[in-house]
Amino acid sequence: MPFTVDFMLLIRLFLEFCRVGLFSVGGGLATIPFLTDLGERTGWFAPGDLANMIAISESTPGPMGVNMATYVGFHTAGVPGGVIATLGLVFPSIVIILIIAEFLQKFRQSKAVDAVFYGLRAASVALITAALLQVAKIALMFHKVYIDTAPGEGVISYELFYWPAIILAVVIFVLVRYSPLKKLHPICFIGLAALVGVIFQM
């Protein structure tokens, strides 16, 4: 890979991921809205790349949010980028937790803190829902198809609804939510989806 070390880019990566670490509350899913926003503002990765990164981050060991940071950083600026983005993500956590640890009991019992998070958790779920809609648009709509007009020639067209993907998503959703298989690890469903994609040449 012809990555040259671009210090300005690394500093930006660090700061951008500090921002992600500082404002995403809760699990790894909470980082997704911030990452779609980041991709749009910087052009470092396309929404389709992000969907792939989510899949890989869910199917590999390690906290999902950390995996996403490493992946985005690596995608943007190689090995140094992966390291810097991950350090950026955890930096605010380390600082905040070291401060809070000093007065853990007070923090736990503070009604003001509880009230802030009462509002904040609802917003976090709403942001993840919006991110879900974006990922759904990429995965289930505007599928690129090649239409052969003559031997060796073709035009690119887009299908508004990509039905095979929509059906696959619905089937997996039902399996994950309502079937006895729902206890299985997400990696099993991601593997199944990949297999269906290859077999049906999606």
Binding site: F23, P61, D114, V135, A194
Partner: protein, 196 residues
């Protein structure tokens, strides 16, 4: 073994054993930290976890910082956190480098078209669980609806140029919406007299 090395290695092991993060890693934390290392009691772990959930950042990272600090101060907090993220760094970068070379193959592209549809289903399922825990009464329903509409508008609509576009872009950004919702939560509880 020096405690800092022990913290790094123990949390690296926890990082390797965790898939997905969040609640999925609680059993592993219990086994490693409470039973094996005796670095925390069940109650302490529950406290760390609860605070980790309601502070910014990844829950797993926050818990690692807590436990590391309790064992060896600030350096311990840093080492435990670095240990936790180390396996992710190594594994993800190998996979990412590998994929960059194979993404152009047709069957890999087909596989990822399927995988993306699967990811939609998995996220949808997680969102439903999160929704049930977070959206519990009328004020939170209103916050949820407003933030969803604003975030979706920010994501799907083209912003006008100039100062108006910049201002709209700021108001519809996740950072602003998160802060506004926190303030809203505080105001709602204060209005109900719940802060006393």
């Amino acid at each position: 073994m020096p405690i800092l090395v022990d913290l790094f290695l123990t949390f690296a092991r926890i990082g390797v054993c965790t898939f997905g993060g969040g609640y999925a890693m609680l059993p592993i934390l219990q086994r490693e930290l409470v039973e094996n290392k005796k670095w925390a009691t069940e109650t302490e772990l529950a406290d760390y976890y609860a605070v980790g959930q309601c502070t910014p950042g990844i829950i797993a990272v926050n818990t690692a910082t807590f436990v590391g600090r309790s064992q060896a101060g600030v350096a311990g907090g840093v080492m435990a956190t670095l240990g936790l993220v180390f396996p992710s760094l190594a594994i993800i970068m190998v996979i990412a480098a590998f994929l960059q070379n194979f993404m152009h193959l047709e069957f890999v592209a087909h596989a990822f078209n399927g995988v993306r549809a699967g990811v939609v289903a998995l996220i949808a399922s997680s969102v439903i669980k999160l929704f049930k825990n977070a959206v519990i009464d009328w004020p939170t329903r209103i916050i949820y609806a407003l933030v969803l509409v604003m975030a979706a508008a920010g994501a799907f609509c083209t912003m006008p140029g100039g100062t108006l576009g910049a201002a709209l872009g700021f108001i519809l950004s996740p950072v602003f919406l998160v802060i506004a919702a926190g303030v809203a939560g505080l105001c709602v509880r204060a209005a109900k007299g719940g802060l006393k």
